[in-house]
């Protein structure tokens, strides 16, 4: 008898899982993947668009190109999950029954959550760079901007790719230096965190770099409202920061499909076991990528490491075996610092990013928590790896699913 696996979302994690599962399961299993978009975006590329490094041709490819033969791709918006009926219903009314459901609907910006964020100033002097529209509009703005005060702001945590706003600040610094107008631009980084990042050792290093690059940091800043006319952002404590150009990372939220299905938390993330990736909604519902509430970074590299664990656990579930507590929170992120250099951080639930060498202990060639040209080449190579290996569910060479402790300088 045929059985059904339904995957919600054909972004990084969903596409990868469709490839993993089609290879692992026989034809008795029908695999369906659903997405509302026809395009797959390489989101890490958004960061480079405002500075003219990448254009849409680097970022956009057809979604179906990466879905393997033997997987049924359904285009359309998902309305609701009915866990008690093992059923998914589309906005069109079409229904899909499943034996196993994998939720991979990601997270997206919700600028409407902040008072005054949207308005005539949106994409005129208030921009996001978490969408292709936002980063393209910003590229246009920067082309002939004569300078002023550039404020980069994170509205609230968690956000996907939590290092991206910092990278943006570093790249802006280098961009305006290269244009010979850095003296005409003030760069301010206003964040709800107490420093540059969430982990102490990396924060120390990154605070130092911000300082060195003359980027002012305004910590503990929780935006309450944007005043588009006066060009200021105000925080709940009464502090104000004025801007000429505001680059915001708005509140990030999971799909409102979670709210409609009454299975998400207050930010529409689906409660998920952090080690097995089984959701707490029902035993036949699993989740992966940015859609979960697990305390790991929301990043493509994380989705990749989760994928190998999730594949194993779906197979365990099918065979009636115990699930493996296999996911350790492993994240591996390059941090662009400008002028062809980058930093690399590698960490998990229990180990914060520290200095050392990667992926070969004592050898490298990549350096952890230290700026280098090699790291920058790693970051640029990530685009090729993404399109050719990551979303097609290939094992990345030399990189292990579980974080390695060797080669790292823990105290």
């Amino acid at each position: 008898m045929t059985k059904n696996i339904v995957i919600l979302g054909a972004g990084t994690a969903g596409t990868m899982m469709s490839n993993h599962l089609r290879r692992a399961l026989d034809k008795d299993w029908k695999i369906t993947i659903i997405d509302q978009r026809t395009e797959h975006h390489y989101q890490p590329g958004y960061l480079f668009v405002p500075f003219g490094v990448y254009g849409p041709e680097d970022i956009v490819k057809p979604i179906e190109k990466f879905i393997p033969d033997g997987v049924n791709l359904k285009l359309g918006a998902i309305d609701k999950i009915y866990p008690e009926k093992d059923k998914v219903v589309m906005v069109s009314g079409e229904e899909f029954d499943y034996d196993i459901l994998i939720v991979a609907t990601g997270t997206d910006i919700a600028p409407e959550e902040t008072e005054g964020m949207m308005g005539p100033h949106w994409q005129k002097d208030v921009f996001d760079f978490y969408t292709l529209e936002g980063s393209s509009a910003l590229a246009k703005k920067f082309r002939d901007w004569e300078g002023g005060k550039l404020v980069i702001n994170i509205v609230e945590m968690p956000i996907k790719c939590p290092v991206a706003p910092l990278e943006f600040a570093f790249l802006a610094n280098a961009f305006f230096e290269q244009k010979g107008m850095r003296d005409k631009v003030d760069i301010v980084f206003a964040t709800p965190m107490s420093g540059a990042f969430t982990k102490p050792k990396a924060t120390e290093k990154l605070d130092y770099l911000l300082n060195e690059k003359n980027i002012e940091i305004v910590p503990d800043f929780n935006v309450m409202a944007v005043d588009g006319e006066a060009k200021t952002i105000m925080d709940y404590g009464g502090k104000e920061v004025s801007y000429d150009v505001l680059v915001t990372v708005p509140t990030n939220k999971g799909s409102d499909l979670m709210e409609r299905s009454r299975i998400g938390d207050e930010l529409n993330y689906i409660p998920t076991d952090r080690a097995t990736l089984q959701t707490k909604v029902k035993e036949n519902i699993f989740a992966i990528g940015d859609a979960t509430n697990i305390p790991a970074s929301k990043a493509g590299s994380v989705a990749h490491f989760e994928g190998e664990v999730l594949l194993e656990n779906v197979l365990n579930y099918i065979q009636g075996k115990d699930l493996k507590e296999g996911f350790d929170g492993h994240a591996n992120c390059f941090i662009e610092t400008g002028h062809g250099k980058a930093l690399l951080i590698d960490f998990n639930y229990t180990h914060e990013p520290v200095s050392g060498t990667f992926p070969f202990p004592g050898v490298g060639p990549l350096n952890l928590l230290k700026e280098s040209r090699m790291n920058h080449m790693g970051k640029m190579a990530f685009k090729w790896i993404y399109w050719n290996m990551l979303i097609t569910g290939r094992h990345l060479p030399f990189v292990t699913t579980k974080m390695q402790e060797a080669g790292k300088n823990f105290d």
Partner: protein, 102 residues
């Protein structure tokens, strides 16, 4: 490390957060609040009780979730514990320093 707060010796972390909620009492809370320049009133105690209960139930705390709790809204939370409300309120409540998400 050990620290004398008010007239009691308690164990605290490097950042001055209690290690063991059992060592917490209202005098300790009042003394920590004083260090933070806050005089505790009824509204503060309601928030403290809420935070402690959430902590006991393993619910991760964020400013947003406190703001949606019905106990206090975000603006009110800032008014009660100015500047870093979640950090200050957690320290006064005797629960660990909030880990801002990754």
């Amino acid at each position: 490390m050990e620290k004398t707060i008010g007239n009691k010796t308690v164990n605290v972390s490097e950042d001055g957060y209690l290690i063991d909620l059992n060592e917490w009492d209202k005098d300790v809370a009042t003394a920590i609040a004083q260090e933070e320049g806050i005089t505790l009133a009824d509204d503060h105690w309601k928030v403290i009780e809420y935070l402690q209960n959430q902590h006991k139930n393993d619910v991760p705390l964020t400013i947003r979730s406190v703001g949606k709790s019905g106990v206090v809204d975000i603006k009110g939370f800032y008014a009660l514990f100015p500047e870093g409300p979640l950090k200050k309120a957690s320290r006064i409540s005797g629960i660990p320093k909030p880990v801002s998400c990754i």
